[in-house]
């Protein structure tokens, strides 16, 4: 009797388990729910980026489609005065001065910053990793942490007067912009260079040192060479930051939409023109559209920097694969 009872109980339990195995449970629904949430979030981010690209592009091309400004005239013209017409009855929207200035400050800042960045990176990786990480890591973090308006303010109250005293003129201009940007891109280039130098395998160094090379020879011939793609990437990231920096530059560049004649004359970058201008123009008019075209250039340049980084990354890894194949 007992045996039969427990047997039927067993059978019932077994049927229950079989059913559970076949049917969705709370866990299944939880999983759909979680997956849905995370997909929604990520799609949101994707849509956001797409709509940024879309909106800036549509506004940016209005200068050419609605106001019929010639693209070439826009890129190569040297007079920026969107409210006025030139002698041919064409609006004066030559963006070249801003483009040139933007590139000047960007390249100069990266050029100046790179040796310092490499110096710090080599110190932290090759010369004194312990002390370096202990003291220089916070230095880099603090430099990143200082907001750009503060950099701009110090540029305005220290660098500009200094230049004025030393070289005459107003003090505003590409030189002041370069100095401010140099400090701002320094931490970017440094920390990315550190990553790339750290990823050079240790045995490269030991092999070189074992062959009797000095530390500098090892750094110069082995470490830096192996880390070159990474360092280039670091420099491009730094340049991207410099190119897109707005307020700090705007505060020290002088904001004169003139072709720069040297490092000391006031001029204007794409970003500084944008920040100064957007608020003073009416939506939908040519002067406003022309500013959106500047924003479009900024956006496109940021994409170009992205592509460059990817390209270098690919080349770098291809070279390494080739090496390991050999």
């Amino acid at each position: 009797m007992e045996g039969i009872k427990s047997e039927t109980e067993d059978k019932l339990k077994m049927d229950g388990i079989k059913k559970e195995l076949r049917n969705p449970s709370k866990a299944t629904h939880q999983d759909y729910f979680g997956k849905a949430i995370s997909y929604i979030c990520i799609t949101l981010v994707g849509c956001l980026v797409l709509s940024i690209l879309y909106f800036i592009t549509t506004r940016g091309v209005a200068t050419f489609t609605e106001n019929h400004v010639n693209l070439w005239a826009f890129l190569s013209g040297t007079n920026w005065n969107p409210g006025m017409l030139d002698s041919h009855g064409q609006p004066e929207v030559g963006a070249l001065p801003m483009i040139v200035t933007s590139f000047c400050v960007t390249v100069l800042a990266a050029l100046v910053a790179t040796p310092f960045a490499l110096g710090v990176a080599l110190f932290m990786t090759e010369i004194s990793p312990q002390k370096g990480t202990r003291f220089l890591q916070p230095v880099i973090e603090l430099l990143v942490g200082i907001p750009s308006v503060v950099y701009g303010f110090i540029g305005l109250s220290v660098i500009v007067p200094l230049i004025r005293h030393a070289f005459g003129g107003t003090g505003f201009g590409i030189l002041a912009g370069t100095i401010v940007l140099f400090v701002m891109v320094l931490p970017t280039i440094t920390s990315l260079s550190i990553d790339s130098i750290r990823s050079v395998p240790m045995y490269y160094r030991s092999a070189s040192l074992a062959l009797g090379a000095t530390r500098w020879q090892t750094i110069h011939k082995v470490v830096l060479r192996a880390a070159t793609p990474g360092i280039l990437t670091a420099i491009i990231f730094g340049m991207a930051r410099a190119f897109g920096e707005a307020l700090a530059v705007q505060m020290v560049i002088g904001n004169a939409t003139l072709m720069p004649h040297g490092l000391l004359t006031p001029s204007s970058t794409l970003t500084s023109q944008l920040t100064t201008g957007i608020g003073n123009t009416t939506m939908g008019t040519l002067p406003n559209n022309a500013l959106w075209s500047l924003a479009l250039i900024l956006l496109l340049m940021s994409l170009v920097f992205n592509v460059l980084v990817r390209f270098i990354g690919k080349r770098g890894s291809m070279k390494n694969e080739f090496k390991s194949c050999k």
Partner: protein, 264 residues
């Protein structure tokens, strides 16, 4: 390296009640055919050991049994549990894992207190009653032979335990779920001999109410605790029999070489 034929196999059928059966189980990691045709029957309330050289597919096989390979591999063939093929898309894997639980090679307690390590999954499965939870904590820790060592600091972080204690906590965590079958993947390989002995004791005790399948590299361990033993070689199961048969009178050359240490 000596090559062994895969055609000669010696695989017995289990006369008693079976807890789990696999039929023609095959596993592919992308193009890598890691498991060919494994057909085994596991007796209820017995310990079965899976032995074999490194890379022979023991973990691969074991992880299929509670569908832990779903995300990383393609698994073909049948896994029969309670008359149901659980290797099917339609099966609710979460239910499967409640009945077939797994302990891993390296101890992996949650970054929570000892108590929460055990109660966490229980709560998620709807057990909210405080007394029931306390009872399960105590019972599972006792059956994993850990209770005496930790009963006074159940609220301590589990990460502060020693490796052997952590592994026994992981066993307790599974036992608390009251599964049917316990899968263990080299549970003692990261542990010292004393902890290992404790875990073996634990397993022998658990055998009374659980079906246990354990992967081990340690021949002595297999012969000490297992009722049945399966020998894996390069993705094939070559021999499966009672443990004493495998260790005293293996039928297959590869098995013999492996257990006598003349392998490879």
């Amino acid at each position: 390296m000596q090559t062994y034929s895969f055609d000669q196999k010696h695989i017995i059928h289990i006369p008693t009640e079976k807890a789990l059966t696999t039929e023609n189980l095959q596993v592919f990691y992308g193009d890598n055919h890691a498991m060919h045709d494994a057909s085994l029957e596991f007796p209820r309330y017995r310990i079965t050991a899976l032995i074999g050289a490194s890379g022979s597919g023991k973990s691969t096989y074991l992880r299929c049994l509670n569908r832990m390979n779903d995300a990383i591999a393609t698994v073909k063939g049948k896994i029969i549990y309670r008359d149901t093929n659980i290797n099917s898309k339609k099966i609710n894997v979460y239910e499967v894992r409640k009945h077939i639980s797994m302990v891993f090679q390296r101890p992996n307690p949650f970054a929570k207190s000892i108590r929460e390590n055990i109660t966490f999954a229980l709560r998620r499965n709807g057990i909210k009653d405080k007394q029931e939870l306390a009872y399960r904590v105590e019972n599972s820790l006792k059956s994993a032979a850990l209770w005496d060592e930790v009963k006074d600091d159940l609220d301590k972080s589990a990460l502060a335990l020693s490796g052997g204690q952590q592994q026994r906590l992981c066993i307790a965590r599974c036992v608390a779920m009251k599964p049917d079958i316990l899968l263990l993947d080299e549970p003692a390989s990261a542990l010292d001999p004393i902890s290992t002995a404790k875990i073996e004791e634990t397993l022998k005790e658990l055998r009374k109410s659980y079906t246990i399948i354990i992967v081990t590299h340690n021949m002595q361990q297999a012969s000490r605790i297992a009722d049945y033993t399966a020998f894996f070689h390069m993705g094939h199961v070559l021999e499966y029999d009672k443990t004493e048969k495998i260790f005293t009178n293996p039928q297959i050359k590869a098995t013999e070489d492996y257990i006598s240490g003349n392998f490879g």
